[in-house]
Amino acid sequence: MEALIVRRRAHLLASLATLGLAWLALLPWLGAAQADDTLEYKIKAAYLYKFAPFVAWPDKVFASPDSPINVCVSGANPFGAALDRIAAGQRVGGRPVQVKHVASVAPDSLCQIVFLGGSAEQSPAQGAAALRGQPVLTVTDGAGGIIGFVLVDNRVRFSIDKAAADESHLAISSKLLSLAVEAH
């Protein structure tokens, strides 16, 4: 009787283990099959234009007091439609927010904020390098941009590269600096 129970249990555990392995084999497929419209990227999309009130650009960046603030996504767009939808109709300090999608960035891209999604011809790091010293707030997943998103304790937080911001003549408010997990 006891032996029977033990055998049945061993069988069940083996079945579970097999199921688990089959599942792990399926994972890459599941990962690839999905559009990335997670809450994480919705939050990042909201951040992108909400950074604007905490950043002061040099006056020459805007033609007039009501010129738009251009929020760009360069290369891969992880936000789906979320960024376009959330930023639609928003105004920051009297300026309308406009979302632009570009394949790569250069100093003349006319972006005030850019998320560097990266592409085959321009990685996020190359994009950040191309805009170094330009009055553009570069944002990346992880390090690389002036602002880098990081996940801390299941929350979307960010670090700020203050030296790069200074070099780009962007004045970042102390409030935003205090919210950063790391400002250096």
Partner: protein
């Protein structure tokens, strides 16, 4: 505020894009990202009767122990049995080892670690302790949670979640001195690396004894020393947690020497975002022991491994799949009259589950769950559930559910053997699972920014409940069997109203009717009281004032109706607390408990303790 559907980003619902556009940048920084993981999902969004006790409620209660904190949940029955012992349940069947091992239908988790004992299916509350300051929230679900959580989640689930060590940085200390309880704790949190934080804590707790109804000292004073740590590490986008605790204590007994308790546990959890989903792996080891020197004792080792993967499938489905194995090694020190046979048991529990949340329409969702559980004594049990919810507006939800749950056999049901005068009284044991089909419905809403409420009703149909029968085996007089059945039904309601920024009123109500009976041919030994002892209704009222000069005043009243057998009179319990934030770092508080006078909460006048009015002065310091 403990209400559901709190305004702002604390709201557990996954926020829409429109919500996000209204959030401040601080709100965004504090919004949890994961919404699919079993551990990380805020259950408040679930179509179930769930009450959330938050960190501020806990602080303002002045409570020092988990059972006292759980009194804040209106969908629980909490009765103190001895200085260190409690009977806690949801929706009936309350009891402890002192009442035939009832109170065995609740699943309790501390940071994902299951803490009910396989010895009898209940919780030894004296072995479970978390620093109150470290608790982020406690999710209390009344009703079955078997499809996702497992076999003991028959009548309810209590999910205790502690803060990340990133949220408990710096040095803090708390000292409590009172007429009955004394407590001291110190905690330090720091960083190990830019992406890793830790905390370390130590605590000593000491509680005096109580008399019974005849004024006899029950000699139930006890003490406990505990320490522990937690490390949170975020390599890349993963979240990794290591945590552990160690404790030891002594508990007075009405007769004989002090009991000795002790234990330790260690856990590792890895949460890895993967594509659009989240993969989570968790492993823990838990050891605890409880013994009377020279007499009976129990030592239990638990090894547990769980894996789960949550992800979206297409536009409208959220899937969680997972499984786990648990290995238990239990050693019971038998005495001449009480034995567990065999005294050493190795038990294996394995489970696999899948849950699919389908967005049927924009405002209607269906949660289908199925868990297969292989418990130590029986065949694989299917535990299915279906939950339907409709959100007529952003701030209200109507839900209904049907679930099957089981209470699996425990060592108590199968291995317990009692002897008297050399004769075996209780033994044998062909006890099978107790089975429940539960029907529930509820409504919760936040009609105004400062008003929220929840209402839930249930009808539970139980079969194969435990009974004590004359044994057909001539070696035993009686044995545990499954010859009881019946229905319970009732309702729970709670709400919160904040008429002014400085005043919050909250209230709760629970109603329980039990219609249990023995099946034809049952020996009916011990009567229906062997199933548990419950009040038919409870009423809760709480008022929280924020006064000028950093002063808080909290008044908390509860009415618990008569318990039938053993008979316990209805009582009104009244607690009050005055807290003063002297500086940003220092808080002083004076808490009065049982201010309406002495009362008994469980057991007979001879066995039950009588709780006395109690005063407690608390100093909290945070650097």
């Amino acid at each position: 505020m403990a209400g559901l559907l709190a305004v702002g980003p604390a709201m557990a619902d996954v926020p829409s894009l429109e919500d996000l556009s209204k959030f401040s940048i601080e709100d965004l920084a504090n919004l949890p990202v994961t919404s699919v993981s079993k551990q990380a999902q805020p259950l408040s969004d679930a179509p179930a009767a769930i009450y959330v006790i938050d960190a501020d409620d806990i602080r303002r209660s002045g409570a020092n122990t988990l059972p006292e904190i759980l009194r804040l949940a209106p969908n629980l029955e909490v009765a103190q049995v001895s200085g260190s012992g409690y009977a806690i349940t949801a929706r009936g069947f309350n009891g402890t080892t002192t009442t035939n091992g009832a109170g065995n239908k609740l699943l309790v988790l501390i940071d994902g670690r299951t803490v009910y004992t396989p010895l009898y299916g209940g919780v030894f509350w004296d072995l479970q302790n978390v620093l109150p300051e470290d608790i982020d929230r406690i999710e209390v679900v009344s009703g079955p949670g078997a499809a996702l959580w497992g076999a003991n989640a028959v009548n309810g689930v209590i999910n205790i979640i502690t803060h990340s060590s990133a949220d408990t940085q710096g040095l803090s200390a708390r000292l409590d001195g009172g007429t009955l309880e004394n407590q001291a704790s110190v905690q330090y949190g720091g960083t190990l690396a830019p992406v890793a934080t830790f905390r370390l804590y130590g605590q000593g707790y000491l509680r005096g004894g109580d008399p019974n109804d005849f004024g006899t000292d029950m000699r139930d004073a006890w003490n406990r020393l505990q320490g522990g740590f937690r490390v949170d590490w975020t390599p890349g986008d993963a979240q990794v947690t290591f945590q552990g605790d160690v404790f030891t204590g002594r508990e007075g007994q009405a007769l004989g020497p002090n009991a000795v308790i002790g234990g330790h546990n260690i856990m590792a959890r890895w949460i890895q975002p993967l594509g659009q989903g989240t993969l989570q792996a968790q492993a823990y080891y838990d050891y605890n022991t409880l013994y009377l020197p020279g007499s009976l004792g129990d030592a239990l080792h638990t090894y547990d491994l769980d894996l789960q993967h949550g992800f979206s499938l297409g536009e409208s489905q959220e899937i969680v799949v997972g499984g786990g194995i648990r290995f238990l090694h239990d050693r019971f020190t038998n005495t001449a009259t009480v034995k567990f046979l065999p005294a050493i048991e190795d038990l294996h529990i394995a489970n696999a589950f899948v849950q699919d949340t389908v967005a049927v329409a924009r405002d209607v969702s269906l949660v289908l769950g199925m868990k297969l559980e292989d418990d130590p004594f029986e065949n694989v049990e299917p535990l299915p559930s279906a939950r339907l919810s409709w959100r007529p507006s952003d701030t209200s939800m109507l839900w209904a559910a049907v679930s099957r749950a089981i209470r699996a056999p425990t060592l108590w049901d199968r291995d317990l053997t009692e002897l008297a005068g050399g004769q075996t009284i209780l033994g044998g044991g062909h006890f099978q699972s107790e089975k429940l089909i539960a029907y529930e419905a509820g409504y919760r809403a936040q009609p105004l920014a400062n008003v929220s409420f929840s209402f839930s009703a249930f009808y539970n149909s139980y079969d194969d409940l435990r009974s004590i029968e004359f044994s057909s085996n001539p070696n035993f007089l009686v044995e545990y069997a499954n010859e009881m059945e019946g229905e319970t039904y009732g309702a729970e309601a709670w709400g919160s109203w904040r008429p002014y920024d400085w005043w919050t009123l909250s209230g709760g109500f629970s109603l329980l009717k039990e219609d249990l009976r023995f099946k034809p041919g049952s020996s009916t030994i011990g009567g229906l009281m062997t199933a548990g002892n419950d009040p038919t209704h409870q009423i809760f009222l709480r008022s929280a004032f924020d006064l000028p000069h950093g002063i808080e005043l909290d008044i908390d009243a509860r009415y618990v109706s008569v318990l039938p057998e053993p008979s316990v009179p209805a009582y009104l319990g009244l607690n009050a607390r005055i807290g003063w934030h002297v500086t940003d770092a220092v808080e002083l508080a004076l808490t009065g408990t049982n201010l309406t006078g002495p009362h008994r909460e469980f057991n007979s006048p001879l066995q039950g303790i009588v709780l006395q009015p109690e005063g407690l002065l608390t100093v909290t310091w945070k650097h």
